[in-house]
Amino acid sequence: MMHEVILNTVPFSFRVTTNSTLVINNLLRVYGSANLNTAPTENDFAHYSVSLLLQRKVGRPWKQHARFKCDDLEPFLPMDADKSYAMLEWGLNWVIAAHEVSHVIVHAGVLAKDNKAILLPAHPGSGKSTTSCAFMKHGWRLLSDELALITPNTLTVTPFVRPVCLKNASVDIVSEWLPEQAKSDIAPNTHKGDVAHLAPTEISWREKASTASLSAVVLPSYRADTYCEIQPLTHRQAFNQIYEHCFNIGILGAQGFSTLAGIADKVSAYHITFNEADEIVSFIEETLAIAT
């Protein structure tokens, strides 16, 4: 059966057309019915229109595969049907990274407390999402797990609250930290391993329209044999790191450059090697003089 729903995320909403029950069930579980319009009318709009369709291949009629499309663009190769919800989440990230040029977009987690935001740019597998969840456990609100939307030439970050993508071992670890949060079904054997999407905390949803101001940049690197090693970064190192993770600097040109340079100049940055994420949280709360 074909479903058409509008996912009312802020600041961008999505019209999702899908014939996958798995996708609909997970959307309801992770976002809650408050954020999902299951019967859109003529007055309802969405910023972007995407589809996730399960189809059978001619050469493989016994197994369905999932295809993600935005308008008529198809950014990914088809995946197995059991990965369809994860594929949708990645697809929505791609849509924003590929279309939005009103913000400088950095591939990074963003969390905030007392209106002070931290930016966690990192390569896949470095423990970025796990670190984000550790912050959430200590009462920080999530602005985004993957996409930091920065207003050009400011330190202002606009939240884009969506679930956190957890991989492999971190699924169980984080479930213990945040037992209340809804979790999607596990998508097995993806290119990132077994992944599950975890719903943001209640405060994150409540503040989903409040911007925050960048106060620190943290580059996490998970290493099993290192408790917590903190290395401050120079302005130039900080700039290079943020630049490397910026999606659309090529399009924004000078405006993008000056935005990133402004962040590197005004905000303290650290490279933290860790196996105990709580240590990062207490270090940052101490540094930013946040009352715990």
Binding site: N43, D44, F45, A46, S49, D71, H99, V101
Partner: protein, 364 residues
């Protein structure tokens, strides 16, 4: 939510009732315009009125303008670098289509977006230019060995080049139609009809630009983005409208042919956007039956092929236009051979995977 052709033309004539659109219809219109590469055009067209549009539409228009501005800047940068690289081998470096419109500036350039830069150079300079560009980071997009031969032997351009750092795609032409068609004009005629942009770049003359755009649209197997191309032709005419322009266009079609394609283009522009066309370039100069057939096929294929577009029998018209395009471009024996090879390759790729025919040197 399905838009009629008249509504679409009305947008550009500023006669469409945009204020009566519901949110859902606005959403559909943005998708339709974006898919036709007309969203940025629309954004500039309605720059003064857009305050009254819904906020989410304004956000899309802002994004579209930013992307178009970036592209225009990029084209100028690429053009500045390309001309010195090519000029030692080729007497002329002519910018074609979208790149030409951008470099010519004004209304024609505003919000024109495209996927590649097209240039025209002397045929005997091709290999040297290709080599020279190779040293500057321009590499051939991977194509299979049959397609490679198809381009080199029969076509009016070489396989597209892509810049390894900047991702810009460059199409280098040595003529406006495939020489294999037997209808390619002598390149000397093309290089006689040129002009300089204000920035000092060389493009085809206004009449030759219209001719080339018409040829690209109708002497071709697909009319994808054809609606955008018609708007380009309309804007070209608006900008260069004069007695000399029309005289030159008539003379050019007498001299190099493609009269049918030009008549088709001008007919649709006059139908859609209310433009006067001189008698010599009107449909009644063509045989009646032929005209009836062409008009009925192409009146459907030049409209956007999109779920939100109302157009009956568009599918069959697209198929017929595809057949005629191939018919125009290739003599029958070559066409049959081409279909045989293409068809059997498609079948083999279906059976053995898409990588079967990849060039081992192409690194993919």
């Amino acid at each position: 939510m399905i838009f009629s052709a008249d509504f679409l033309h009305g947008i550009w004539l500023k006669q469409a009732q945009l204020s009566s659109l519901s949110n859902r219809e606005w959403e559909a219109l943005v998708l339709l315009l974006r898919s036709e590469m007309l969203l940025a055009r629309f954004a500039y067209w309605y720059e003064d009125e857009s305050e009254g549009f819904p906020a989410f539409v304004q956000a899309h228009l802002g994004n579209a303008k930013t992307l178009a501005t970036r592209q225009a800047k990029q084209v100028e940068i690429e053009a500045r670098m390309l001309v010195p690289l090519c000029s030692q081998f080729s007497q002329h470096i002519l910018f074609l289509k979208g790149a030409a419109y951008t470099l010519l500036g004004s209304q024609l350039a505003k919000g024109r977006v495209y996927s590649d830069i097209d240039i025209l150079v002397d045929k005997d300079a091709l290999l040297s230019i290709e080599k020279r560009l190779g040293f500057k980071g321009w590499i051939a997009k991977p194509v299979n060995n049959y397609d490679e031969a198809y381009y080199r032997k029969w076509m009016h351009e070489i396989p597209p080049l892509i810049h390894s750092n900047r991702g810009t795609v460059l199409d280098i032409h040595h003529n406006i139609v495939p020489p294999v068609s037997g209808k390619a004009p002598p390149s000397a005629i093309l290089t006689e009809h040129t002009m300089q942009s204000q920035g000092g770049f060389e493009t085809l003359s206004p009449a030759a630009l219209v001719l080339h755009s018409s040829v690209h649209l109708f002497f071709n197997e697909d009319q994808d983005k054809g609606y955008r191309d018609l708007i380009d032709i309309w804007l070209l005419i608006q900008r260069f409208d004069s007695q000399e322009f029309w005289t030159e266009l008539v003379r050019l079609t007498d001299c190099v042919g493609f009269k049918t394609d030009v008549i088709l283009a001008l007919y649709f522009v006059s139908q859609f956007f209310d433009v006067g066309v001189p008698k010599a370039l009107q449909p009644n100069t063509l045989p009646k039956a032929k005209w009836w057939l062409l008009k009925n096929i192409y009146s459907k294929t030049v409209l956007p092929s999109h779920p939100y577009m109302q157009c009956k029998y568009q599918g069959i018209a697209i198929t017929l236009a595809w057949a005629r395009g191939h018919w125009c471009k290739m003599p029958i024996p070559i066409l049959l051979y081409h279909f045989l090879v293409k068809g059997s390759r498609k079948l083999i790729e279906k059976l053995f995977g898409d990588h079967v025919f990849k060039n081992s040197q192409s690194g993919s």
